[in-house]
């Protein structure tokens, strides 16, 4: 075993993820083991994760982990075989290649020859902000000190805190034996590395009557002001103690940005063209009996005209992985539904266009000039909502949903927060809430981490969202949980 491959296997502290050269070196070694003709693909993924979890003011988990995943794909005739491994020594690599070849021969899938596969149009992968040296530099000691600083204020006030700190970095590349050193095909994945950080914290009083939460995620640890989050969670906990029960009903609500993002998440699942065009979901207009098709609400105003939801992969605040087909898009433009996502199959068949539109994941939502304090000051009677949990869609056509308020709910009377209120169950559609807007505030990043996003190839969902004041929001029952 060479010294270099030994280093790759162990990923010592100075190289927690694989570099571009490392990935290419591994791919070349794999390609050399292939026997016979046929294309070989190598996907090399490496990741590092440092985390610290605490509960009842004491650390319950602290880890610093890293791993490599190598996926080898061999095409033999019309058969294709896949093998995964994390062993990078020569013997293991050769065994994996042989196993992939056996798999390709023994269980061939009827696969269209590569020359007959759909040609993808030329497109540049966007340049996105996904790497932060600050995140990558965080050591277990730094995390420990950060956690100590987060826990101490809560403990000093006799509160119990629980929270989670995570820093993550990774790299990914998918290389082909037929295009090493030449221009990659659209389905190849050029080398990319990224970081991700998150911090969230819940503070509760000893009696269990008050709860406060705060959290933020970003690719850049430097953008997360952890002490401010801790102070906010503590402040909310203190303010939410000894809540009173409030009659359910329709209230004016001030939704903090996190709550707004959770309402938008209900809409996100409906943003596909196929849904209305098969006669379902909130964006179906009506069936056109003459043309024999379902008309959608594309081009129609569906939300308050102050709402614009857009997505620009080059937005430095968003931090989205540079995927193919990614482009700047406006989903709602001044309340008008302007885009829905679709697959390339759909585009070829229905639009005669060789293109695709990726789903709505990360986004920026427009805001307004009003601060939350101003919203409170101008509210005669209403509720201030920190965030929601356990949201479920009850009716896909109207997006009527239900869920619970969580970690702080306050009654506002005559322009002031008068008391903490027991949590309530809401039964409301985000479409109704976003059409009953009184005021909007400054958009800010919210907590939207995706667990194992890169390992699972799941899209990141960063969002920049404003607080909103909305009328007649429906609450249907009280909840005892804090």
């Amino acid at each position: 075993m060479s010294a270099r491959s030994d280093r790759l296997i162990r990923l010592a502290d100075d190289a927690r993820i694989l570099s571009e050269q490392d990935c290419e070196s591994i791919a070349k070694r794999v390609f050399a083991f292939a026997s016979g003709p046929g294309e070989t693909y190598v996907s090399v993924m490496s990741w590092w994760q440092g985390e610290l979890r605490w509960a009842r003011n004491r650390t319950s988990l602290a880890s610093d982990r890293r791993d490599i995943r190598l996926e080898i794909t061999r095409d033999v005739g019309v058969g294709r075989g896949n093998v995964e491994t994390n062993q990078l020594d020569d013997v293991s690599l050769e065994s994996a290649v042989r196993a992939a070849e056996r798999s390709a021969v023994l269980a061939p899938q009827v696969r269209r020859p590569p020359q007959l596969q759909p040609p993808l149009p030329h497109a540049e992968r966007p340049k996105t902000a996904i790497w932060s040296d600050a995140t990558y530099a965080v050591t277990p000691e730094v995390r420990g000190e950060a956690a100590r600083a987060l826990i101490a204020p809560a403990e000093a006030k006799g509160m119990s805190s629980a929270g989670y700190l995570e820093m993550r970095a990774g790299s990914r590349a998918r290389l082909s034996s037929q295009r090493m050193g030449s221009a990659p095909a659209p389905w190849d994945v050029p080398y990319a590395s990224w970081t991700q950080a998150q911090c969230s914290m819940t503070v509760r009083d000893k009696e269990g009557t008050g709860s406060g939460w705060a959290g933020l995620s970003s690719y850049d640890w430097a953008r997360i002001d952890a002490p401010a989050l801790a102070a906010r969670a503590l402040e909310k906990c203190v303010a939410s103690q000894h809540p009173v029960a409030l009659e359910p009903g329709r209230y004016t609500v001030i939704l903090e940005p996190q709550a707004v993002a959770e309402m938008v998440s209900i809409i996100e699942t409906s943003m596909y063209r196929e849904i209305p065009e098969f006669g379902h979901g909130p964006w179906v207009l009506a069936h056109d009996d003459v043309l024999g098709l379902w008309r959608s609400k594309l081009g129609l105003k569906v939300l308050d005209e102050r709402i614009t939801i857009s997505h620009d992969p080059a937005d430095p605040m968003l931090g989205i992985f540079p995927e193919f087909w990614m482009q700047p898009l406006t989903w709602f433009d001044k309340g008008v539904l302007t885009n829905l996502s679709f697959h390339r199959d759909y585009a070829l068949q229905m639009l005669n266009v060789n293109a695709a539109r990726r789903p709505l994941t990360g986004y920026r939502m427009s805001g307004g000039p009003t601060s939350v304090e101003e919203m409170i000051r101008t509210t005669t009677r209403g509720l201030l909502v920190s965030h929601f949990s356990n949201i479920r869609v009850l009716d896909g056509d109207s997006l009527l949903s239900t869920g619970l308020t969580r970690d702080g709910l306050w009654l506002i009377e005559h322009g002031k927060i008068s008391k903490a209120v027991k949590n309530l169950r809401f039964t409301e559609s985000p479409l109704f809430a976003f059409n009953s807007i009184d005021q909007m505030g400054e958009p800010v990043p919210v907590f939207r981490p995706v667990k194992n996003a890169y390992e699972e190839n799941a899209p990141l969902t960063p969002a920049i969202v404003p607080p909103i004041k909305s009328r007649d929001f429906s609450f249907t029952s009280t909840i005892d949980a804090i």
Binding site: Q117, P118, L293
Partner: protein
């Protein structure tokens, strides 16, 4: 000494604990995966085992014979199931005595008994199940009988006698005549699918008999309109009348003239539906309009107009979604229906070389997984697709589909109705679709359309050829 006793006292339990711990461990052993179906504990496991054996036999068959393109053998349903399936079912079902089966498990148990050839046990179990239904619950008994009929007809071979017995009992005891008609029709379909022509005619006679006696309110009832998947009971009657008329009578009529055959079919339609004879939804006797195309293959095929007067012709309409497929890398390609239709056409073309074959298709602005192409390029690709089926002497006419787009941001392509489709719809509510085939006689009249399978088409073409030879 005392110290030693304490030490020993401590040692003994530790040794016991160690022994217990060691004896509690067992070495890993692979589970016995060999097939011992007699050990299976539930009927579902037995059915799954039988299903696996059936599946393996089918997969082996698919590797050696591609049946997708072969005409369906109507007697196939009456053939016994493969012997290995019977053996596995019998062996596995041996542990289940009929008397001990819970009546609520009757559906899987009956299926298993039928697969094992224990028909009398299946019948006894069904009797127990019907008896277990509350006396006033006609709905529950009906559901049980429906399930049993389905099990009998889907069993291999189909137990048509048993199914008929159940349905006839229901028909005799039911005062609802529309319901009885529905019962007869389900039996007619089962008999026809099993190739039991004598039974089919007998049931058709009973269906027509009860249809004749329906009162006007019964014919106008919602129940009657809901029959035949909401298309109305009149289509059931027409279907039954068609069975009673029989292929021989229809061919005799066509042998005389297409007009005579049209009159026969129109008469049946009028009797069945109460509509005017001309309202027959099948355009028999209508003059076949000349086909138009922007791209003919071969290029001279469009002149003189097709179908050519003086020749027997088959006009086949194929649709893009059916024969080209969706552009997905996984789903692209023709459907089985398209493949079968083209295989039928190839066999007919070999059998009747003098018959003209006209295939009608249209462009869609996209071909499988390829990016948008020009109409001429797409027509060439369609031609290559048609050629792959090797239908001798087939002529292909491709129309460039006129379309418009919904306003932005929708932008969907909306295709206009093609002239050929409009001409061959004849204003009927049954529209031309993919796989619609028209048999055109030498006088340019449509002899039959849509419904004919390969065997019937063969008979009809022979009749037309005889007529042509006699100079009729």
């Amino acid at each position: 000494m005392r110290q030693m006793k304490i030490s020993l006292a401590l040692l003994v339990p530790s040794a016991v604990l160690c022994t217990m711990s060691a004896s509690a461990q067992t070495r890993f052993q692979w589970p016995d995966t060999s097939e011992h179906v007699a050990h299976y504990a539930s009927m579902e496991e037995c059915l799954a085992a039988a299903g696996r054996v059936t599946g393996s036999i089918m997969r082996r068959r698919e590797l050696t014979e591609w049946h997708d393109t072969m005409p369906r053998d109507p007697r196939e349903a009456l053939e016994p199931q493969p012997e290995p399936v019977t053996q596995v079912s019998s062996k596995c079902a041996a542990q289940f005595a009929e008397a001990k089966v819970d009546v609520h498990d009757f559906a899987p148990a009956m299926k298993l008994f039928l697969a094992a050839g224990r028909d009398s046990d299946a019948a006894t179990l069904l009797e127990r199940r019907i008896a277990a239904a509350p006396p006033r619950s006609a709905r529950e008994r009906g559901a049980v009988v429906d399930s049993a009929v389905e099990l009998y007809t889907n069993a291999k071979p189909s137990r048509l006698d048993a199914a008929e017995g159940l349905l006839m009992h229901r028909a005799r005891t039911s005062t609802d005549r529309v319901e009885r008609m529905k019962t007869y029709f389900s039996l007619l379909v089962a008999s026809r699918n099993a190739g039991d022509t004598a039974r089919t005619v007998r049931i058709a006679r009973m269906l027509v008999g009860i249809a004749d006696s329906l009162t006007v309110p019964e014919r106008q009832s919602d129940e009657f309109e809901r029959l035949f998947d909401g298309n109305g009971g009149q289509l059931m009657i027409y279907d039954a009348l068609d069975e009673l008329t029989g292929l021989k009578a229809r061919m005799d009529s066509l042998r005389k003239s297409t007009a005579a055959y049209a009159a026969l079919e129109r008469g049946n339609w009028s009797i069945a539906t109460g509509e005017r004879p001309e309202a027959l939804q099948i355009p028999i006797g209508q003059r076949a309009a000349p086909l138009s195309a922007d791209f003919w293959f071969p290029s001279t095929a469009g002149s003189p107009p097709r179908p050519t007067r003086g020749r027997i012709a088959l006009v086949l309409f194929l649709e893009h979604t059916d024969c080209i497929g969706m552009p997905s890398t996984d789903d692209a390609g023709p459907t089985t229906q398209c493949t079968m239709r083209m295989a039928e056409l190839r066999r007919l073309a070999h059998r009747f070389p003098s018959v003209e074959i006209d295939i009608v298709m249209s462009t869609h602005g996209q071909f499988m997984y390829l990016p948008p192409t020009s109409p001429a390029e797409e027509a060439t690709l369609i031609k290559q697709m048609v050629d792959s089926y090797q239908v001798p002497e087939a002529v292909l006419g491709v129309t460039s589909t006129p379309f418009w787009r919904l306003p932005d941001p929708d932008s969907r392509r909306v295709e206009k109705i093609l002239p050929n489709v409009a001409r061959y719809d004849f204003g009927k509510s049954w529209k031309v679709g993919s796989g619609s085939m028209f048999l055109v006689d030498p006088d340019g009249l449509i002899a039959d359309a849509w419904r004919l399978g390969e065997d019937e088409l063969g008979h009809f073409i022979e009749v037309l050829m005889q007529r042509q030879n006699k100079g009729n």
